[in-house]
């Protein structure tokens, strides 16, 4: 079972990720649940999603642009950004753009190859929840969120870089 860190604590996960899907059948067959669906599915089946009585969020792969989300971005309760490999840094930029350019206030979740040694930087970029890779120690990851006491750069939580606070 993959563990979840959310808003600085270990939390239960109410969301189910639909990794690949071409149609709305999966969530339609499970009323009242919460699903994270691929961006393309969310764009292709807006009507079905409107009619669904549960919650729907989207996930983007690292090569997908935030701009592809388009209208409706602000109404999404959660946007998950995938790390196909921990060394693929594109989702860091996507998270920063969501927070800083789009002023998105909802949950941004890191999914995929999410490891202890990267969660600090992820949180600095605006990720608020982390679905850890299966083998990860959740307590250790929680501690890693405090690896550094401060940072030179601005972040979603701290809009002033260090040089404006010194």
């Amino acid at each position: 079972m993959q563990k979840l860190i959310k808003d600085g604590t270990i939390a239960n996960d109410s969301w189910t990720i639909i990794k690949t899907a071409t149609g709305p059948e999966i969530f339609q067959a499970a009323p009242g649940k919460a699903f994270i669906v691929p961006l393309q599915l969310w764009k292709d089946f807006r009507e079905e999603i409107e009619e669904y009585n549960g919650s729907i969020a989207v996930w983007l792969d690292s090569n997908e642009s935030i701009n592809k989300i388009g209208a409706g971005l602000q109404s999404l309760p959660l946007i998950a950004l995938n790390f196909p490999a921990f060394s693929d840094g594109r989702s860091y930029s996507n998270a920063r753009e969501l927070r800083l350019a789009h002023n998105y206030k909802g949950e941004i979740r890191a999914i995929g190859d999410v490891l202890r040694d990267q969660v600090f930087f992820m949180s600095r970029c605006g990720f608020s929840s982390f679905q850890l890779r299966e083998d990860q120690d959740a307590d250790a990851c929680l501690m890693a969120l405090n690896d550094f006491s401060d940072a030179y750069q601005l972040s979603a939580a701290e809009p002033l870089p260090l040089f404006r606070r010194r």
Binding site: F86, Y92, F120, R124, Q153, P161, F163
Partner: protein
Amino acid sequence: MYQYDNYDHQMLRDRIAQYRDQTQRYLDGKLSEAEFLPLRLQNGLYIQRLAPMLRIAVPYGMLSSRQLRKLAYIANHYDKGYGHFTTRQNIQFNWPALEDLPDLLTELAEVEMHAIQTSGNCIRNTTTDQFAGVAVDELEDSRGYCEIIRQWSTFHPEFAYLPRKFKIAVCGTKVDQAATQLHDIGIYLVSNTAGETGFRILAGGGLGRTPIIGKEIFDFVEKKHLLTALEAILRVYNREGRRDNKYKARIKILVKETGVDAFKQKVNHEWEDLKASGLQLTDEEITRCQSFFTDPDYQTLDNEPDTLKQQLSENLMFASWHEQNVNPHKIDGYAIVTVCFKSTGVAPGDVTDIQLNALADLSDKYSFGEARVTHDQNVVLADVPQEDLFSLWQELQSAAMSSQNLGLLTDLICCPGGDFCALANAKSIPIAESIQRKFSSVEAQKEIGKLSLNISGCMNACGHHHVGNIGILGVDKKGDEFYQVSLGGSSSKEASLGKIIGPAFAEEEIPAVIETIVDVYKNNRQENELFIDTFQRMGIAPFKEKVYAKAD
């Protein structure tokens, strides 16, 4: 020099604690080789052919005497008594053990040094011209801006996993000694028509397999937007740089494949979002960072004092060294001294613990306790009173650091090559040595004049062979080592890439080939032409003809 405050110290301590834990988990088998790799690389640790190699950051090349002594101590305690100055103003050690690294880093932190981001796919050490702040024709001291960039790029959370490494150079001097146009981002301080100082920013330069000169992205950026402009470029690169092929992953390939105009558009789009953010620099921050690089306590001295004139006329050796290694200083009565200790049989950049300690003592005695590492792997004492030059030279002689070949043929740049490096196709240090033996007379070298000769042991081009007036590249031909020669490269403001002269040569042929090339230049030069000028006037054909001419 920049002085750490509590914030800088605390973040450095945090990183060491984090790295100590990461190393322990790796040694305990809890962290895989692949997962530990970028963590150790971003702390400067490579695993090389013979042993680990640790690269320590020397921000924009500046070292205090205290730091030099610490490096001497590290050479002694963790290495075999020597280190190696790199072409990006850093220093590396070849033998420290992986498990000793956290302790070594703790010692370095005592003198405000570290190995952060000296390797890995992240923003590397920011470099600049070694004459910054003392050059005669400088627009503004670049080092305050380098420090601003250093802090912005250190632990930047968004850019820790870029497609590939990323190097930035800043130049505020008229003569560019920082190879600025061959960096992922090259920054020139410029003034606009209103007389304000700002930045001209290039992107997409680099050496390696596909050498490219950087393209202009911004012709003038206001000071306050230095970081917003850099962040915009980096974001476009992080998102769109190729990750499918490491040989096509540098920003130069992205700029080339996207097209400069389309790339600029993307950057401008990001920049619009960033301009109004807190990242915009404040006057206070610029002033704060610049305040660490103010002039030392210069005395009122005369230019060319009589004592110096007399010493120059009485001692030919001193005069020869003075002519080659001493540059004019912006303040009357002072001089910039480049200490060159490249000598035959020693790998360029190699420096012993004894030499490091001697440099520390000499910088205390003659140059306000500071020294600078250069892109050509030499060391500069930037603030030497002219009346002290003779005694400095005498002391350099007894420390075996008075080579007077600065800027001449044997002051060559050379990577560690196949003797040390796991990537190399061929050895490079023995090639350097064979050339140095062929041209051992300084007088003969002076007769040839300024000529840069750069040697790389493989296509990764750590020895910058593309931008040597003469470049030598080690290549592998069915298991045998051969050497390809190129001519006409330059890393100056008029940067150019060398052209390959023809089929590669065997190791033993190289000294004679170089001699033939130099002879073609000597026989054809006009008036004050340097090698590069003659080459540009005549092209490669006459060189090629002589080099490949059949023996009679």
